[in-house]
Every structure is written in C-alpha cells, then in structure tokens.
C-alpha cells in the first residue's frame, strides 16, 4: 500500500538554526499539507499546498516557515530560525483527487520529531 514517508524521524537543532523537514507524499497525490503537534496538545494545521503554491496557511505559519516542492516527489518544510517553541512533531499529509477536486481523505506520514535546544 502506498504511504507517505518523512525524514528524518528525529531532528535535534539549536535555537536559531535552520531546519528542513522532508516528506515524500504518495506519488499520484496533488494536495500536500504540514501539521504540527506540540507534546500533549492537539494536531494543528500549518499549511496546504497545491499546484506549486500555498493554498492556505494558518497564523502559526509565519515568515519563519516556508514550503517547497523542489522536484516531482519531495515536499519540504523549512524553518529559517528555530525557536524553542517550534519543538513539536511535524506531520506531512497528502490527498489524491476525485473528479479534479480534493478527495479529502488525508494520508499522514509517521512524523518528524523536532527538538530545539
């Protein structure tokens, strides 16, 4: 069964450093998402991406964040200057289409645990 993959599984970085979290969505999916889950809290939407541009972003997704689909398979989340409060599990997800519209059934990757020290 196709699945979403994410690397690395765990990333430790120092405050102020840049990190790139990588995701490989399911190959024929066209809608891509990033979510985060701070330890003990609920999963929060960060950004959605379609047709090589951001379609929606949350207030969390400020200028420190960016997303990119650098090639036909990867989907990345970059945090330019990490803060302690960026420590969280980051999930990538993707959706296929049905009749040209999103199918709404999101497939999640296993997550990257980001620890900012």
């Amino acid at each position: 069964e196709p699945e979403v993959t994410q690397t690395p599984s765990h990333q430790v970085t120092q405050m102020g450093q840049e990190v790139i979290l990588r995701c490989v969505p399911i190959s024929n999916h066209l809608y891509f998402y990033w979510y985060r889950q701070i330890l003990g809290q609920k999963v929060e939407f960060l950004v959605s991406f379609y047709n090589n541009e951001i379609s929606e972003k949350s207030e969390i997704f400020d200028d420190q964040f960016s997303v990119e689909r650098p090639d036909g398979s990867n989907f990345t989340l970059k945090i330019r200057s990490t803060k302690l409060e960026d420590s969280a599990m980051y999930f990538c997800a993707s959706i296929g289409t049905s009749g040209g519209l999103p199918s709404y059934e999101q497939y999640f990757g296993p997550g990257t645990r980001l620890t900012v020290t």
Binding site: Y33, Q41, V43, E44, F91, I95, Y104, E105, G109
Partner: protein, 114 residues
C-alpha cells in the same frame, strides 16, 4: 466560532467492554468528518470517514461511527475493545471549501485494562 470538541480527555475501559468516544462540531454547514488513531510514537491512521449518505459508517479495526446532524455529533464506537486499541483518538473535520485542511479535536486518550 468553528470548533471540534472531544469532551473526554481520558477514558479507561476494560478489555472486552464497549467503547464510545464523543465528538461534537460547530460549523455553519456539515463538514466532512473523520476519526484518526495515534498509537504512542506513531503517526495518524484514518479509522473512518463520513462525507454523506448512510449516517452509520464502518471503519477499520472493528470501529464504527454515527453521524447525528441534529446533535452535530460524530461519535466513535467499538463493541468489544482489545488491548491493542489503547491509543489516542482524534476527531477531525474538513470544510468542503477548505482545500482539504483538517481541524482536529483535542483527542481522547484510551487506556485498556485487563
């Protein structure tokens, strides 16, 4: 305000007993509804979804959920719980004009006792 509410933060259930997890939503229109499960250290796995039609939906691992429009609820049930069902369960909604964005409830932690 638009919201997804899971009133129970934590539920303890005996193995073999039935389980019901509550979810209520507050949106202007009926959203698409989902239940996800997260085992410790794992990602999110889709249990079931409701888009339209039959209000009782069957999912994986023996779970089912019932959509009640009048109560704005989408409660998850399992007739007989197994120890492997111990996990965190999230209710989520997607608005039909939202590019598929999911809004999650706070989650319910399920503990299964022998």
């Amino acid at each position: 305000a638009q919201s997804v509410t899971q009133p129970d933060i934590h539920i303890t259930v005996s193995e073999g007993a039935s389980l019901e997890l509550r979810c209520n939503y507050s949106y202007g229109a009926t959203p698409y509804l989902f239940w996800y499960v997260q085992s410790p250290g794992q990602g999110l796995q889709l249990l079931l979804k409701y888009f339209s039609g039959d209000t009782l939906v069957q999912g994986i691992k023996g779970f089912e959920a019932e959509f009640k429009r009048s109560q704005s609820s989408f409660n998850l049930r399992k007739p007989s719980v197994h120890w492997s069902d111990a996990a965190e369960y999230f209710c989520a909604v997607a608005l039909t004009d939202s590019w598929g964005k999911l809004q999650f409830g706070a989650g319910t932690q399920v503990v299964v006792t022998p």
